[in-house]
Amino acid sequence: MDEFLEQFLLESRDLIAQAIDDLLALEEKPSDTERLDGAFRAFHTLKGAAGIVDFAAMARTLHAAEDILATIRSSGGAIAPGLLNECLTCLDLTSRWLDAMQTSGVAPATAEAEADDMISRLVGSRDADERDQAPQPQGDDWLQRLDASALARFDGPRVALRYIPSPDAFFQGHDPMALIAGLPHVLGVDVALTDPAVSLDSMAPFSCGLDIVVWMAASAVDVRAALTGAVGLTEIRELAAPGVTQAESDTSKAALLLESQLLVLQDAGSDGLSGRLASAGRTAVHALIHLGRDEAAIVVDQATAKALVERRTSPLVEAIERALTRAGPASVRDDAPARVHVPRALRVDMSRIDALVKLTGELIVLKNAIGHAAKLSQENTQPAVLAASLRDQHAQFDRLATELQTAVLRIRVLPLRSVFRRFPRLVREIAGSVGKTVRLVTEGDDTEADAMIVEALFEPLLHILRNAIDHGIESPERRAAAGKPAMGTVVLRARRESDSVVIDVEDDGAGVDLARVRAVAAQRRIAGADALAAMTDAEAAHLIFAAGFSTATTVTDLSGRGVGLDSVKAAVERLGGRIALETRPGIGTSIALMLPFSLMMTPVMTVEVAGQAFGLPLDSVLETAIVKRNLVVPIGSGHAVVLRDRTVPLIDLTQALGLPHHPPASDQARIVLMSIGPKVAGLEVDRLGERMDVMLKPMDGLLAGVSGVAGTTLLGDGRVLIVLNAEELFD
């Protein structure tokens, strides 16, 4: 990507962030003129930047938003919530375009169409605002005016258009009906009066007061092209494929059926080929006819005939595959956020760079001093003098290296604000979609963490918040019955705890229903009945992080999408963090993510087994203990040790790693106690080593899949230290 574009992306993202900041502040305090000015300037500069790189769609979208802000600025009024939302949506859209540009280097092809839609939404919301929230059909209500039965009969892209010509349209010589006559494949038209109360006596026949909805079997692009002469408001909605609401289950069943035909055809053997071809073809045709997709059925039928003649499966396989790509759920509403953008460039405070420059200077001084010491050693200087000098320089070097490390880490940090500030709006939307009102309180958003961690946190946190809102917070009625305020509260808090960054998500909901969790875990065979019975409540609560777990009785749009909290746990662990949960019935649930401050350095403790050194991540080491061997007792197929009246499962690291076993040399066992999720477990080792900070290199290539290993690092003497992943060892 050329430098120019890179700079554009970088600056635009900054401007978007600033504009979002200002808009969110305006939401809190709509009359804040300073914030309004700030948002206006950000939009204005963004528009200018888009102009420079010739991104016309972005420029005109932002121009429309800027116009609105300018009007509000000059009128001195407060910004209406609807307008504010549209401005935020506009920024979201721009942000998505930038993401696309980042990957492909060019403006996305869909930008023009998206810009048209966005502009009409912006203009629409402004007009709605100007009409002072008159009882105007809001949002997508107008879509209900469509004739669903007529629409269902048509396959292919369908589009609905709402057209509200401006009142002076007739005077301008415009005929909206002529415009509609020029639209492609009109299926139906609904004409309504913007003022239904008007009568023949009072009407002005040449003042247009029509609100027209048209639906067409055409693509949005064609419709948009035909709309060039429109005078007034237009809004275009692409409609989902036929009968999504009722036929969705049918569709997925049919898709399954089609897929199974593909499996039948996959078998390459020529035995009974024609029989298999004929039956697979027939089944597929029936499935498609059932769906009302006659054209596709005909195509598959013809392909079957062709396949039978040529005695090969590929024509039919291709035809079914083509039918299948269209048979899937027609409009999966993908409200999942776009993939987290990995920061390729970072804006750094100048003072942090200055600190680095200063350190570099000191390092050069030290380098000269070491050169001097090397010269001294050649000149037969007294060893004692030389040793003193070297020791001194090592001490200085040690100090500088630590300072340099800290300085470099400080460059890579970002305040968590950059991810937290995206949530208030999302939380409100999510809560609205499940009929709850939820207040999000963020605390400690100036806490800093490694940029990569901060960026990677968005999705896990969003998932936890969705869960808290969807499952945690009760419905307003139930809250009222429980004597709680109708509005739920979710607290999102970040704090530093020594070398970790802890993020808490607390809700004041009903708490995790442990009885249900146990029941579901048993039903889905996540844990055996005995194991479940033996679990403490805290352990049982952690089952919600187990793969394949989801307690929602009704699958909602939000959290019940098959991906449970296990994905959150996996994401957090990938970042080298841990997740903990605390729940109190009727009072609420608190989920804590404990993440390393930096991805670069990991504190480890070294241990030795069978003469080999291994590292254990220090954050999961609770303590080390040396116990008498007779305290280690066999239990079932394993071992356990009793420590301070507590029985702890014990694993012999030598055995676990499959290293040559040798009989214990002493009657003492050295044990490292580790926290594995909510549990505690012990590792028996031959020798306890030291604590050190290492730069962990993850396993890659052929070794990427090795379980039980977190990564490797080099020791001072050049040996490779394998750092173990405690959790996987105990699995």
Partner: protein, 81 residues
């Protein structure tokens, strides 16, 4: 002129009704409060004419001749109503 009042008390719309017909039609409707409208010969109508039909809510004899007009599903002027 394509909007005409007949002796039978029925207003007919025929051919393509331009914007001026809106005023004519409005006057005819105001002068004949019970008159019905027949637009079976109407091939096209300016939106201003449609607007008068909507406001009038008079019984409408259809379906109209123009293909686009038959696609209007609004109950007050729908071709089936």
């Amino acid at each position: 002129m394509t909007a005409v009042l007949h002796d039978s008390g029925i207003i007919t719309l025929s051919g393509a009704c331009p914007v001026d017909d809106a005023e004519t039609l409005l006057q005819l409707l105001l002068a004949n409060p019970t008159a019905e409208i027949d637009w079976r010969d109407c091939t096209a109508a300016h939106a201003a004419v449609i607007q008068v039909l909507l406001v009038a809510k008079r019984p409408l004899r259809g379906p109209p001749a123009g293909p686009l007009l038959t696609r209007i599903v609004t109950p007050t002027i729908s071709s089936s109503g």
